[in-house]
């Protein structure tokens, strides 16, 4: 039974470019009365590398999590390779997750396990692919992310932030996923390590036929790695009837955009934002800076 579901899921992959591998259809997400995402429709083609940019609190991490079923959209749907992921049962979703790799913001390595056990975790859950051994796969992935084998018996707490992120990438890559999602991969790293992560993302794309979605507010990273950039804007700051997607196009088109909010973000200019914040403080708590998700920085107050 398990096999047949898996075969069904994996056999529906279509040739490159024929159909989007991932699609959100009018996806909305809200917590209580707080609207995070409203009617987001995005199509991601196979092999694309997309950077989702936007200021803190715009819901870009929520968007990423909704793509792989970590959050359930309030309305609309997420379709991966022809499968509406909300309609899949537990077993089908588990099988589909073999095809996703998620690199978390702070790596989210399991503290109670060694690096080796962390990287091997997806293998333990889904089994080792035929013709390979777990040890070989771990060594290969570790070499790909440029880590020495002596880190394997260590615990995550013994590694630096950059090393942990690379272990997170190795773990996400171990089953050679079709869709790789990165949540702020360069945040909190020094400029050199940030660029190492950028290079690794580019090398990964060259090595595997993977579709990547990168959530970031690092414009250098977005420009360098992505071939398409989507900018999300906080729903509460939009004019009535406006789309939350302010920009969707290649990095080169960013320079010619006429939307001041996009160019302001790209150039990293505060503009009148500070004055707005001060004004909103004097008026009392404004929903513009409301709490979004207690478990993630992306949804926290900006101040």
């Amino acid at each position: 039974m398990q096999e047949s579901i898996l075969d069904q899921i994996t056999s529906t992959a279509l040739p490159h470019g024929k159909r989007p591998i991932l699609e959100t259809r009018s996806m909305s997400l809200q917590f209580g009365r707080q609207v995070i995402l409203k009617d987001i429709s995005v199509k991601v083609n196979k092999g694309e590398t997309i950077a989702i940019i936007g200021e803190s609190g715009c819901g870009k991490t929520m968007f990423l999590k909704a793509l792989v079923g970590l959050l359930s959209p309030t309305s609309g749907s997420v379709v991966f390779d022809g499968h509406d992921i909300q309609k899949l049962d537990d077993q089908e979703m588990t099988n589909l997750r073999k095809r996703f790799g998620f690199v978390f913001q702070n790596a989210a390595l399991f503290d109670s396990m060694t690096i080796s056990q962390n990287i091997a975790f997806p293998l333990r859950q889904h089994g080792v692919p035929k013709g390979k051994t777990a040890q070989n796969l771990i060594s290969e992935r570790l070499a790909e992310v440029g880590l020495p084998s002596n880190v394997l018996p260590k615990r995550p707490s013994q590694l630096s932030g950059g090393m942990r992120k690379r272990v997170g990438l190795a773990r996400a890559l171990i089953l050679e996923p079709d869709l790789l999602l990165y949540d702020e991969p360069t945040t909190g790293l020094d400029p050199i390590m940030s660029d190492v992560i950028n290079e690794l993302m580019m090398r990964t794309r060259k090595r595997y036929p993977v579709t990547s979605i990168i959530v970031t507010h690092d414009m250098h990273s977005a420009r360098k790695v992505a071939d398409r950039i989507i900018m999300l804007y906080p729903y509460t700051r939009l004019e009535h009837g406006e789309s939350q997607i302010l920009f969707d196009g290649p990095p080169s088109a960013l320079e010619s955009t006429k939307d001041r909010r996009v160019s302001q973000f790209v150039k990293g200019e505060a503009g009148e934002r500070l004055m707005e914040m001060l004004a909103s403080r004097s008026k009392g708590p404004a929903d513009t800076f409301g709490r979004v998700d207690p478990n993630h920085d992306d949804g926290m107050d900006e101040e």
Binding site: F102, D111, R171, H296, M300
Partner: protein, 289 residues
């Protein structure tokens, strides 16, 4: 926060209405929150029961939890059990001596221990030592996205994290209870016989005649429910932890406090039930003299 529906009215009636509105709003929120938390915990517990039968827990997740609950908790349970036995002896000795019945002290101490103090003490130590640690560990995993990572890699966090903790608590708390009972009996015996000099043969005979297997069963039976409560409440608190160090701390404290309240509440309910069973089997009941 309740909004004032009568902002521009300052007559006594409208002020009274306004304060009644606020009162109803605040207490309404408390009741709704309370009911929804109980509902959430029940759903959480039910999902855990489903996952317990749906897939076999992995050995590597079971063993560390069995070790933490069964082995690492044993010394502290044994130590506190001994002290409680001694305290009971010290507290009761003079009253019993005044009426010349100090040889019955063993019966009273041992009965109190096996029926009530042993299981409650073992559960309290477990809630404090293991329950709050469970909430803190799972809370940290929630805050640092490790639970999301588990899900994203196809593992069910309830099956992977909660079921092993539940099994460890439920299966091993009877052993901890028996340990608390045994060490309490030893502590009580030591203080009564060695320190107060009560005749040891009479002390033991009176204990044996008064405390039966049903009493021991009562304590062990209750402890299973206590263990289940500790595991479900603590894991739930960890899973619903708020962000930051404060959130984790609050989850750990709430896990202990709520487990403890639930233990005492369950204790009352189970005692009423077990008493009914006891008197159905032995209508005359046990007599001290």
């Amino acid at each position: 926060m309740a909004t004032d529906p009568f902002p521009n009215m300052d007559s006594p009636q409208s002020r009274l209405l306004s304060s009644l509105h606020r009162f109803a709003s605040v207490w309404g929120t408390v009741v709704i929150d309370g009911v929804s938390t109980v509902g959430d915990i029940s759903i959480f517990g039910w999902q855990m029961v489903l996952w317990m039968f749906r897939a076999k827990p992995k050995r590597e997740t079971l063993m560390p939890n069995f070790y933490a609950v069964g082995v690492l908790s044993l010394p502290v349970v044994a130590l506190t059990g001994t002290f409680i036995g001694m305290v009971l002896a010290i507290q009761s000795y003079h009253q019993f001596k005044n009426i010349g019945m100090e040889t019955f002290l063993g019966a009273v101490i041992n009965m109190s221990l096996v029926r009530e103090l042993g299981p409650v003490l073992a559960a309290t130590m477990l809630a404090g030592r293991v329950g709050s640690a469970m909430a803190a560990v799972l809370g940290t995993m929630r805050v640092t996205e490790q639970i999301d990572a588990l899900i994203s890699m196809g593992a069910n966090p309830i099956h992977y994290l909660v079921v092993p903790r539940f099994l460890a608590c439920v299966l091993l708390i009877p052993a901890l209870t028996i340990m608390a009972d045994f060490m309490g009996i030893v502590g009580g015996y030591f203080y009564s016989v060695i320190v107060f000099g009560i005749d040891h043969a009479q002390y033991l005979r009176n204990s044996r005649e008064f405390v039966g297997s049903f009493d021991l069963f009562t304590g062990v039976f209750k402890s299973i429910f206590f263990g289940a409560t500790i595991a479900v409440v603590s894991c739930y608190r960890g899973f619903h932890c708020q962000a930051g160090a404060e959130g984790v701390g609050r989850a750990a404290t709430a896990a202990f406090v709520q487990s403890f309240v639930m233990i005492l509440l369950l204790d009352i309910v189970l005692n009423i039930f077990l008493d009914a069973v006891y008197f159905a089997i032995w209508p005359t009941g046990a007599k001290l003299f």
